[in-house]
């Protein structure tokens, strides 16, 4: 128990780093993901192809391999990134934006074509159709999957532990090595830190989802 209490400052540091990675790469991947989704539903075929190739490649590649690309492969091409949080944020953004794109795209596709046809039939223009009819409905069905993507991102920040970032999981690993008698307790503490973020977020996603179902 003493080991747990003594290491509270390190827990706090790790928690802050995990939160930093999740928030910064979350914000960046939301932006990049929405841009990718816009490309994937664009009327121009060449834009759709580019976005599709990106999304399919990234989604079928393990996150660890994306990290390896930025940390170990890119320097051999002459692009050296500072070790630590910068390549971690770039890798997490690269990976997560593909999943954001898919969530946004399926949200847009979940609005039935009839809705847009009805809007055009009563004389709304393209912008008004999007703003008043399609996007409000799409947004509702996009929010729960997006929260799930961000939960996955929070858990995925743990991969940075393998690439010289001191976040929660790597804090747990080094604490466990320093205190062999309290391994389960210390790792349990780390697990609680993750659950503090992921479980409330999951409940929020579920609540939004139920409201969306009822409002249809």
């Amino acid at each position: 128990m003493d080991a747990l209490i003594d290491s509270i400052p390190r827990f706090v540091d790790g928690f802050e780093m995990t939160l930093l990675l999740a928030v910064v790469s979350g914000a960046l991947s939301l932006v990049l993901g929405v841009v990718l989704a816009a490309l994937r539903v664009a009327p121009l075929r060449s834009l759709r192809v580019v976005a599709t190739v990106y999304v399919e490649t990234v989604r079928n590649t393990p996150l660890t391999l994306v990290f390896i690309f930025y940390v170990f492969v890119l320097p051999t091409l002459g692009f050296v990134l500072p070790l630590g949080r910068v390549p971690a944020i770039i890798a997490l953004t690269t990976y997560t934006s593909a999943f954001v794109c898919e969530a946004v795209r399926s949200g847009i596709n979940s609005v039935s074509t009839g809705q847009a046809e009805a809007a055009r039939a009563i004389g709304l223009g393209t912008v008004a159709t999007l703003r008043l009819v399609v996007l409000p409905q799409a947004l509702r069905s996009v929010v729960p999957p997006l929260i799930n993507v961000l939960i996955a991102l929070t858990k995925n920040t743990s991969v940075a532990a393998g690439f010289a970032v001191i976040e929660l999981t790597s804090t747990g690993r080094s604490l466990a090595r320093d205190n062999p008698s309290d391994v389960l307790l210390l790792l349990g503490g780390i697990a609680v830190c993750y659950l503090i973020i992921t479980i409330p977020a999951g409940l929020a996603a579920g609540a939004v989802e139920r409201r969306v179902v009822f409002s249809r």
Binding site: V41, P43, L44, R45, S46, L47, V50, E56, T57, N60, T61, P62, L63, T64, L65, I68, F69, F72, V73, P75, T76, L77, G78, S106, I108, N109, S110, V111, S112, T113, Q115, A116, R120, T126, V134, I151, K155, N156, T157, S158, V159, A161, G162, L168, T169, G172, R173, A176, R177, V183, L184, L187, I190, A191, Y194, L195, T198, I199, G202, V213
Partner: protein
Amino acid sequence: MSGSVLYDAPGPRTRRIERLASIALAVVIVAVLAWLVVSLARRGVLDDRWEVLTDPPKQQTASDVWRSLIVVGLGATLRAAVVAAPLALVLALVLAVLRTSRFAIVRRPAVVVIEVLRGMPVLLMMFFGLLGFGLSSFEAVVFGLTLYNAAIIAEILRAGLIALPHGQVEAGISIGLTRGQTLRIIELPQVVQLMLPSLISQFVVLLKDSSLGFIVGYGELLSVMKNNYSFFGDTSRLPLFVVVVGIYLVVNITLSRIAVYTQRRLSSRIATPVDDLTVVR
């Protein structure tokens, strides 16, 4: 793209404009890619480093490199995934049945277990196995993959149990089966079939997560890649990386195709779900 929610089906003139704009953009994209290749080539990317794949230095043959990647590396990755997947499925069946029980005293603990397992990173679970329970790195990888995916698959199966028309259970009860028999003979076989596409997609996730073995010291595909480029030197990193990405893409895209194919084949064979699954889940 006719029938889109975002815009009206285009007329002939718009289609012509779109096609021209698309071709023009394609030219721009190809030009950007070409510029990228040229500028990388100036940095020496197209030099003899690719020979590691065809005629490697240090008295190694190309077949040594490829065998280490595909037989040893991919083999170890698949072994971890293939051992973990059935274990996860069995554990998931148990969790899903407990989770949907009528009795709160059984249901509540199952909810807690599923939520805790779902809310933790897989890598942390592997460290639990490795450092907490003294497992070998292979066992730790299987341990983490099994527990995490059991929770996810349990939720997939639960969605299937909810989606199955209630008449199925009622029919089972009315011909005199017990609840357990109804579950085993009528519900679960249909649910597993119904959810087969989701289960295959989850297997892709599991396969990708087995790459975390790289961090806990299990000699899977990425570790083998690293050993290779440590041996052949830094310039061999890019070619080996490209091959490993290619291996993952081939394996995972094949599995995803199978998922789509089974979905199409199965759609006619099962009692129709009460609701759109994407909404229920």
